[in-house]
Each structure stands twice: as structure tokens, then as C-alpha cells.
Symmetry: D2
Subunit: 396 residues, 4 copies
């Protein structure tokens, strides 16, 4: 069992604790740290945590904990991670790892130097649906992955620091795009090198300095493309969807707004509907098990099992660093208005990739382009002459 | 933490163990019992269970376990429950509790006589969606519940004994209807007395003696109706849906075939798609976390928390007994071809119920029947004169 | 082209005219009749109808029309149909044909005696989805039809006469159940004789004398069952869904609340959302083409093509009469609290039916009960010994 | 009524005729032209068309027709349009108007010089769902439109010429992107000038010279973005979806794969499922009324009504020309790897646009950034100091 120092008692700290303490889990938060002693005390009382502190070093150094979870605002990650690594504890850090790749690279260096376990808390790569879909993709169900769309949009974050780009590292891209980038990368294959990014971002609605909406395309060495769509200006709730298109199949995942609960209420229900829900009457779409659907439960199970099995978890600081490098390239593309290369001074994946394209022969002289069942029941084929390049039709 | 004697190593025993041992749980199966020693050994090895046995008494009496889970075929429940109660252990029994209300009543008497904890493993009342919806209903989101439809259909059970009505107690009604009955009862309110049942059942497809399809209506004292639809002849997978209609709202739950994963595969994936899935290519609808979606995880959490908190769980043997009484009435209605009374010699709920109907005044002399927004934007009202009963229209 | 006398200028008359005059149709309403001359005038002006009248005989006798559409309240159908038949015109009558089978039988006799074309305006059997599904069923896609559920529920009708059971012939069953009954009958096969009905109905919510909610089961001679669910107390819009279960497949149709348009609006839209929609903000589910989705367009196309081709349309007065007989049996079952026979003094379908059950051999000595793919990838079969009846398992 | 010369008898000509002759329409194809006389004859016989020809001039000049529909491969549009314009007939041309903006501009000039009616047959802007959604957007339901995603993907076209970029003008972008571009433009507002395009395109799968997959972003003068996603390598059927995000709402449209019909069949159905469907067993998603769902019926109704009312239709050659200019910019961006300007020598829309952003005051000194209902029921607000720019939180 794990005994945890939790740094940060905001929404994410609450979701983490809910997942850790929920349903007969054997792991426990031993000490809660907040910059505010009052808040730390209140949080500890609410979640049955034995100790609390407003002193980060003290919390990290607590002799009864073995694992540190960093659930702080982005600008505080680096210092917390370095302190935890130096204390020799297992370190788990929330997303994004850094505000940029340089920060992430220093964090990676710190944990590797200290030789401690490190896990990147990218929960959306751990939702039960994503895990199931990843297994299907590994099993070949969609053939070679050509394109992944990952979308995370809502009406904007709940804490002030997100909206300050000095503290957070950017806007909707660093906040939400980091999820989408890693989801796409997981489906395409982490061993495939991301090459370049083309990104549009704009401050469409909110009176802030950072982008509140963005769409980016990440091109991988094998020709696959990961598309991220993020916004802090979406209306209707929290839109968390992924689409995977492969040479032999397609997967659509909907994690939040359409998961199999549909409720109409003329009178409303007292209080809360679901995270980022916008209405309290009419048709509502709650989520049965929020921490589970967001991946928190499976994420911590993998992390803690990995610590005990002395193996790497599914998501490490190295992954967090790659994500930051892709996000940096997205910001560079926004500025340069052209494709921007992904700078990866440390690359541990494959050094060459096979392209996704596949050629299928029709006969000795022709390549098959496609076949389609027509309304009259016949099968029509489009073929190309290998020598002349001429394209023609065949009926079967 | 709980240390468990598991009686039964079939599909349901496997699902239970998967839920218990999954994801950092602190409870463990300590001994597995099967009627076949080989099977017991194999199962124990597969799931990391320290001991196994083909002797039920020995398994129940294991000094290192405190809780007995009965996951045996229906005809073996009674003897197992009695033995566990006499051994003074907490007893959890899979659904249906008995093959009929008489058996269930004896089991209830046994655990109450022995003073042991008893839980009825009605997993589908514990799915995250059901729990969420029940909370919304308790919060008033749909007003008074008028009607609940609960549907469980698939292509038939996976073990031979289900198909033998001496061993199972019936056909699709006892196997699947027991879920539907308790789901409807949970939404309508367990304190409301079920009064009578009208049921159609038939052996439409399979060459068996029991019904393979049935639809029944359970009428409650307050005028609400619970509708169950069951079949062992459904094609397309496992259809697990609930609908709740109330005076102020509606809830639709889909637990299995449409939960937010949609996958098309032209080539198939190796092996398993989802329980009772029927195809391996084309559009498939897998479930992310099967044990979670079926309610096993939340069910055991409630059961074990209840044991430790010395409170009753959400589902007790008393509930199992009420369900059996309703199922008995369904079979009686099938035979008599008319409404059959629900016989409940033991009734612990309310002794009087307020009817679901609600009257709303339009003005001093008229009752409002309904109002509707028309295509031209106007509001049309239908009213009834309180004195004359005359029905007329008003425009607002 | 058809020239039409339209009797009735309420919601249904408006929907019919919208369908007839919409999108380049070649048929036209020539005269509109309403009991109120003002209303007739207003309606004619709104829809570009050249003539109007408050005199029914005059409207029917209009020398420039050849077809009479009866879109009047239920208690006025019989007189209007008889007058139109005696005028020698083609007669189309809205649903239900009569308030009961006796009325319907007299109307059928009148049109057959006069030798005029007669069409039963059962629009929901003509929705594009229903037509497509019927064709699939005819093509064998679901095997033999075992069970059909047809559901039509909303918050209650928009005109006062519906709520008066003397005028309408009943409550939600006669109003909405007539649709459901004919939809189920269409899928099961119109040649199969409906035998008996079991029905629950109650006045759950509204202060009226008729039932506002009901569920009924119609048993057919071949063992198939048609289930109707109707309510005037449903919240959330108009719920129009059908489900067809067959030995080899399943069909689910959703005609209204989930057709592929989903809209969230925080501010609302001016005016109308969709028929019976209940909210103007939040998540809304409009329908693209309402008259098309409700079947009006395809219904009139079939009717008028049938007149010109001198063939019977898909839905005739005979069908309306069978529906009324089934509805009568539903009311009889409500009263007697048992299965009630369907009285059909005139029966023109098959006089014997083959049962839906199908037996499949496993080997010379065994019948196959079912097969299922298990989690470990193996195939498990349940078989029954033909001689002994014993049930056992096989692995493949 | 219209009398039509139909040029082209391929799949699109068939869909057009189906829409024109279906369901009691008053317009008729008077002569069918195909480059092959045999094909022309066969098509005329199949669809009840009185005359046919393999001579285009003769077909256009037919004295009994007043309207010419160009349903030919892309490289034949210009000559056909010019001939029809010179013959003084109303001209309707299928999408895309030209292979590029230069061609389109010449066609526009030809019809305007001749003073004939011209309509651009962009059917997907006319689907009942799109028309309904456009009306909602005009009514303010989603506030200001910020972003539109329009996706059209399938496994590739059915005729050989599409795959030859000399004949078609490109690959998936010119074929499918032309739809998506005009759908987005319709939602954003045709009066708003498209400024620049950023586009990724690649030949991911098929052995051809043109792109088989592409994603592009079209930026409008008011800051709104239209996103198109096209592919000839999608598996699972034809994916036609649109998403509209506005400051006050969201719209999701699904035109094909999920429209409310879901069918499971273990045995298959004879023949055709739906356009571009890929499987014949398992879960299938047919469309009730294909020509209607694709917009053909409403498109021709608008076109012919416009001719008779002497007004412009919803989609004119000018629109086709703007679409071609945007597509040209997409190809330019693919080549230059940066944002490419949309070249519009003829611009007839607004010359200045108001930005989509909106500022909302919290109090005299602060701007409101956002508000969110938290799990504990409280309302949290993020505000920004107008003077200092500082961002902070408030509880309400």
C-alpha cells in the first residue's frame, strides 16, 4: 500500500483523493499540503487525512509517506518535483508536466538523477474507454492508425491562475491540449517520432492574453496525424471526445456528454449535475462515476502497481516532456504562421518509421484503388495500371 | 479489510473476483470452492487465491475468512446460505436469492436467526449510472415516479443449469427479471408495497420448457408501475436499459450496448468484444470497464463498508425475498392469464401510500389539464371546470 | 394530380396541408372546411387555398375536388366519411378510423358499398425510417419477428376534445395506441391474426375520466407479440420509438427525440422548437423536417399514387377497422383485468399461422440451445438431448 | 413546373432524378444526355424520361425544356454551363462549380452575361437538419458563431475520373471539401469575408497522385474559423457530421451514420444498405430517406421556386466561385506549408466585420472572465481588473 503526500488541495487534489480513498482502496493520503494552512486543515478534515501542513518541505519530508503527488498550479511543479526527488520519494506529477519543454526536461533530469520512480498523471490516457480502445488498436482492429482527433473543450477553468499565462504557461493549449496530444500519441504509437506541428489559436471570446481556442495538427514520422481541438469558449458542458481512423477501422469515444445517461427535468435537481455542466433543467447528461470516467482510478492503479512491481508506468515524465515539446511547437506555429518542428533533444523512440500507406494488387498489371457496393447490388472497383498510371473501372 | 470464502467459480464468480481483486482493492478472496477440485485449483491459481477446496463446509469454515459469497447455481443457494449463517459469517448471495419466495423466506429467517450480516448481490442496482439516477430521483429531479421500464435481454445464458427450470426456478423471468424488478422497485421506492402483477411469457424460440421471453407489469400501492422485459432470444448483444418516467422528468439509462464507445472494424479483433456480443467485425459497441459498468465494484464497496460500519447494505436478503415474491406473482399471472396478487407474508414497508396523481389549479373554478407551446409561438392551455367537469381551451 | 376537400383545420389539418403543398408537390387543397367560418377563411388564406366553407356538404360536394380528407375530431369521422362516400369521392380518414370497431366497421361498409377509394391516414407507418425498416424485415434481415415495441408518449394533446372520452372514444390508447398497434402489426405481418390483448391503463396524473397512461400486449396467432406504450404524462418532449426483435436481428427506430440534431442554447431561440418540445434552453433535440419525419409526405404519395394506379394503398379502412378492434380489446382487458379476445367479425388475413419458434440441430441426438463466445475466446454451446431432454454443455 | 435537360447519368444524375421524380413532384426530366448513347437510353427507360441523347448541344437545345442541370464530371462543367447559358436556359450545376476559381469565375461571368438564372447544387447546405440549424443560428440560439467543423469522409468515390486530378481538379479536398467549406460559410455568414486558409493534406493510403486525406482551417474576417475534414480513407461508412460552436450555444448534426435507425442482423439483408456502407451483417445504420437526408429534395424545391419567384436561390454560382477560391487557397497552403490568402477578385459581401469577441462587465472595475457551478453547489467567478489586468476569484 502507498502512503501519500498530496501537494495541492484544489479541484484536481479533490478528484485525486476521491479516486484514491473511494471504494475500498488500500492506498491513503497521509498528509495534505496547501499554501493556506486553513485550506489544508479543512481539506484534511473533509477527506479523513491524518496530517496537514502549509510547509511544503515538511509535507514532502513526512516520514510516514513514500509517494508525493504534485497537484499544484503549473508554475509550482518544477520546484515541488525537485524537492520530492531530492527527498528520494516516488513522484507523480499532474498535467502538464512543465509550462514548457525546458522545464519538463529539468524535471525529468531531476528524477532520473535521483533514481526515483516518476509518473505523469495524464488521466485521460487512462479512462476505461481509452484503455479498451488502445487494446483494440494494439490487437489490429483498425489496422494502421492514420489520424486521431482528440477534443477537449468547456467554458473555461475554475481557478484564476489558469487564466494567467505567466503562471500556467499559456492558455487552452497548455491546459487542455496536453491531454489531446498524449491521447493521439498513444493511439499512433509512442515509439513514432512527432515531427512538426501546424496550429491555429486565437483569443476569440474571453478578455485574456492567452488563446482561448485552438486547433492543431501534429504530424508523425510515419505519416499519421494527431489533431487536437481545445477551447475555453465551448457551451453545453465539457466535450471530451476522441476519434481514431485507421486503414481497417474507426473508433469513436465519448467520455462525458453522451455516456448513456439522459435525464430530462422540468424542475431541476438540487445542486451539482456534472463537472462543467451548464444547465440545471431540461435535458441533462450526467456521468455515472466521474473520477472513473476521467481515468483517475485506473491511473493510480497503474502508478502504484508499477511502483510495487518495479516497472515503469504507462505514463512517465519522459512522456510529459514529449508532450511539452509538442505544445511548444504548437505555440511556435501560432507565432510563425507555418509548420513548426518539434524540438526533441532527447528522443528515446524509433529512429525510422514505416509509412502508413499500403498498396493492394488487383491483378498483375493493376493496383486496386477501391471497391464499393452500388445501389443495384453490383460491386464496382477502381484500378490503376501500374505501368501507365491510367485509372479505370471494373465491375465484379 | 474482508477475507472471503467464494462459493462458485463460474462466470459470476470470475466477475466477482475481478471486481474484488481489481485496482488496488484491500479485500481478498481467501478460499475458492468449486464442486470440482480441478476447477477450484485452476481458478485459485488464475486469481492468486491462497486456498481452494471442493468441500463446501471446509471452505465456509475456513478460519481465515470472515465473509461468504454465494455464487452458485440457484438450487444450491439455500443450503449454502444456511451453512454460512450457522458458521456465523457475513453472507452475501448472488441473484436471485431463491428459486421462489418460500426458499427466500427460509434464507432470510436463517440469517436473521443467526444474527449475521446479509447482503443481496443485486449488482444492477449498483451500477454507477443507476446510483447517480437514484440520487437524482431522491433529489426530486423527475417528481413522483410514475413508471419504470427495465429491460435485460440477450441470446441466453452460458451455463446449462440456467436452462433447466428445476435447477434455476424458471426461465428468463427468474434469471433476468429479478434484476429488472428490483431496479424498478428502487426507483419507485422500496417502502411502497407491490400489489399485483400482470405477465406475458412464452417459449418463443429455444427448445426448452421454461419461458425464453416475457414482459410483466408490477403495480404498486401508489399507482406507479414497474415494467420488466426479459428475453433469452434477443440478437445484437446484451441489452440493458432502464427508463424512468416521473411527473416532472424522465431518465434513460443504457448500461451496455451504447455507452460511448463505437468501433468499426473490417478485420476484427482477436478474441473477446464484450459479454454476449455477437459479432467480431463491423460496428461494435464494447464497454470500457465491464465489472464497473455492471455494478460489481460499487456493490462490494457498499457491502463491505456496511459490514464495517455495522449498518444494513443497500440490498439485503429482505429485498431478495420481495423480488422473489414478485417473480412468483409473475409466474402465477402467466398461468392464470390475469392479474395475480403479490403475496408478502412479511411486509416491512409503508402500510399506506399517497397516490402519484397531482392536481394543479388554473384558477378558482378550473383545474389545469395541460399547456403546450404551439408552432405560432402561442401557449395553449386545456382546463377543466371543477364543478361541471367541462373541458375547454385557453390561450395565453 | 389530386384536388382535395380538406375537412378540419386544426393541428392535423395544418400538418397535412404543409405536407401536401410543400416542396413542389402537384396536389392541392381546393377547399377547406371548418365548423367555424372565420377559422376556415383564415386557414385558406394562410395556405393559399382558393375556397373555404363552414358547410360540410358544400365542401364535400365541391365540383373541383375529387378527394376528401377527413381531419376532424374522432366523433365526426363517421358522418363525414359516409357523406364523402355517398358523394362518390376518394376518402382519406385520419387516425383512429372510429372511436370503436363498430363505428369503423360501418365506415368500411360505407366506402365499400359506394365503391370509392379509401385510405387510412396512419402516418407513423409511413415514416421514411419505418418504410426502410419494413423493407429490411421483408428482406429477412431480422428473421422471424418475435416482438415489437412501439412507444408514443408526450405531455398530452393540444385540443380540448381529445380529453373528453365521449368525443374521442377513450384516452391515450385510442389517441396514441392506434399508431403503435398498427406499427407492430405492420412489422409482424398484416396477414397474421391478432388473437388477444392484455392491457394496463390508469389515470395517473391528469384530472380526467380516461386513461392517461397505458401499456398493452397484443398476441398474434403465430406467437409474436406487439407491445404498445402510450402516455399523456411523459416529460421531455414527444417520445416516438419502435423496437423490433426477430430470431436473427433487431431494429431500433427513434423518430423524434434523437434523430441526429443536438443543440445546446444558453439563450433560447425565438418561438418553436419541435412538436411537444418542453424546453427552450439547454440541450434541445429538434427535428429537421417534421412533416417528413412523421410520415405525412410518404403517406400522401402512396395514397395518391394508389388512386391513380387503381390499387389499394398500404393502409386502408380495413386496417383502421382491425386497429379499432384491437383497441377495443385493450379497453376490455383493462376492465376485466385479464386477457381479452380481439373480436374480428370480418377477417381477411391468413386462417392459419406458422409459429415463430425454430429448432436447430447440433448433431443427430442433440438440439442446439445456444452458443456464446467466452472471455477466454472459446465457444461454449448448450445442447439438449432429443430423447431424454437432458441439457448439457459443449466447448468448440 | 420545370422541364429539365439532365446532363450526366452517373450516381449524381440518378440521385437528382430520384429526388425530382419522387413523391408527387411536379417537375420532370424531359431529356437525358450521356456521352454514351446506350447509357442515355437505359437511364431514360429506367426513370421514365421521354427523350435521350448523346449529343450535348441537342440535349441543351431541346425545345421542350427550360432548365439545364449539369451533373457531369468536373472537367466538363465549364463547357456545359457556357452552352446552356448561351441557349438562354436556367442553369444548375453540381458541386464543385469549377476545378478552380478561374474556371468558376468564367462560368459566373457566362451566366451573368447571358442573364440566365444560375444555381449551385450544393446539396449538403440544404439537408433538412442544416436548414433547421441555420434558422436556429439566424434566430440567435448559439449567439455569435465562433467555429464550425464540417466533416465528410468515406472510403473513396465510385467513378474513375474522381481519382484523376487533371479531370477532377484535385483529390478529397475538391471532391468533399467543397461541401464542408460552404456549410461552414453558411453558418458563419456568407457576408463575412474568408481571409486565409491553413491546410494539411496527404496521400495516406491510396496509390494516387492527389491527397486522399486533408484537414483545413478557413479564417474569416470576424475571427470565426471554418474547419473542414475530408478523407477517402475512412472506414465504417460515410461520415457526414457538422458541429457549430457559438458564444451562447452549440449544434451537432449527424446526417448519415447515426440518424435514428439502428439495425443488427446476423444474416444480412439482400443487397444495398446505404451509400458507402461497408458491411452487410452486424450492426448497421441505414438512412430512412437518402435523397432527402442529402438535401436533394429541398435543394431543387428552392431552385425551382426561385426561378418561378424571380429571386436568387440560396446557393448561386457566386457561392460556387467563393468555394473554389477557398479550395484554391487550401491547395496553396498545402504547397507553401503556411497560411495562404483567399484570392477573391470579385467580393460582394461586407467590407468590414465586427469581431466575435464579447466583453461582459462584472462590476465597475472588473470584467467577468467566467463563472462555474462547483460540486459543493457554490458559484465561482473569475474576474479581471480593468486597470491592472490582475485576475482573481469571487464566490457568489
Amino acid at each position: 500500500m502507498r502512503r501519500i503526500t498530496l501537494l495541492g488541495t484544489g479541484l484536481i487534489g479533490m478528484f485525486y483523493t476521491m479516486a484514491l480513498h473511494g471504494r475500498r482502496g488500500r492506498d491513503r493520503v497521509g498528509v495534505a499540503y496547501s499554501r493556506s494552512a486553513d485550506r489544508a486543515k479543512e481539506f484534511a478534515a473533509e477527506w479523513g487525512i491524518p496530517r496537514f501542513s502549509a510547509n511544503m518541505e515538511e509535507a514532502i519530508g513526512d516520514p510516514n509517506t513514500d509517494t508525493v503527488i504534485v497537484a499544484l498550479p503549473n508554475h509550482l511543479h518544477e520546484a515541488a518535483v525537485i524537492a520530492a526527488a531530492e527527498a528520494g520519494k516516488s513522484v507523480l506529477c499532474t498535467k502538464p508536466l512543465g509550462r514548457n519543454a525546458a522545464e519538463a526536461q529539468r524535471m525529468l533530469a531531476a528524477v532520473e538523477r535521483a533514481g526515483v520512480f516518476h509518473g505523469y498523471l495524464e488521466d485521460l490516457c487512462y479512462t476505461p474507454k481509452t484503455l479498451h480502445a488502445l487494446e483494440s488498436v494494439r490487437g489490429g482492429a483498425v489496422g494502421k492508425v492514420l489520424w486521431v482527433r482528440s477534443r477537449e473543450t468547456h467554458s473555461g477553468p475554475h481557478s484564476d491562475w489558469f487564466w494567467n499565462k505567466e503562471l500556467s504557461g499559456g492558455g487552452a493549449i497548455i491546459d487542455l491540449g496536453c491531454h489531446c496530444v498524449e491521447i493521439a500519441r498513444s493511439f499512433i504509437g509512442k515509439e513514432i517520432r512527432p515531427i512538426e506541428v501546424m496550429c491555429w489559436g486565437d483569443t476569440q471570446v474571453h478578455p485574456i492574453d492567452a488563446e482561448d481556442s485552438a486547433v492543431g495538427l501534429v504530424k508523425y514520422e510515419n505519416g499519421a496525424v494527431g489533431q487536437f481541438e481545445v477551447s475555453w469558449a465551448f457551451r453545453g458542458g465539457m466535450d471530451l471526445r476522441d476519434e481514431v481512423a485507421g486503414t481497417d477501422g474507426t473508433i469513436w469515444l465519448n467520455h462525458w456528454l453522451r455516456t448513456g445517461i439522459e435525464m430530462f427535468t422540468a424542475v431541476g435537481q438540487s445542486g451539482y449535475v456534472a463537472e462543467k455542466a451548464e444547465s440545471a433543467t431540461g435535458w441533462l447528461f450526467p456521468v455515472g462515476d466521474e473520477p472513473g470516467a476521467l481515468g483517475y482510478v485506473d491511473m493510480f492503479a497503474d502508478m502504484f502497481d508499477a511502483i510495487e512491481d518495479r516497472r515503469a508506468p504507462r505514463e512517465t515524465f519522459y512522456d510529459g516532456y514529449v508532450v511539452n515539446a509538442i505544445v511548444d511547437a504548437a505555440y511556435a506555429s501560432m507565432a510563425s504562421r507555418q509548420w513548426a518542428p518539434v524540438e526533441l533533444p532527447i528522443w528515446r523512440g524509433a529512429t525510422a518509421a514505416t509509412n502508413v500507406a499500403a498498396i493492394r494488387d488487383y491483378d498483375a498489371e493493376h493496383i486496386l484503388i477501391k471497391e464499393e457496393r452500388m445501389m443495384d447490388g453490383s460491386l464496382k472497383l477502381i484500378v490503376r495500371n501500374k505501368r501507365t498510371g491510367e485509372i479505370g473501372e471494373r465491375r465484379a
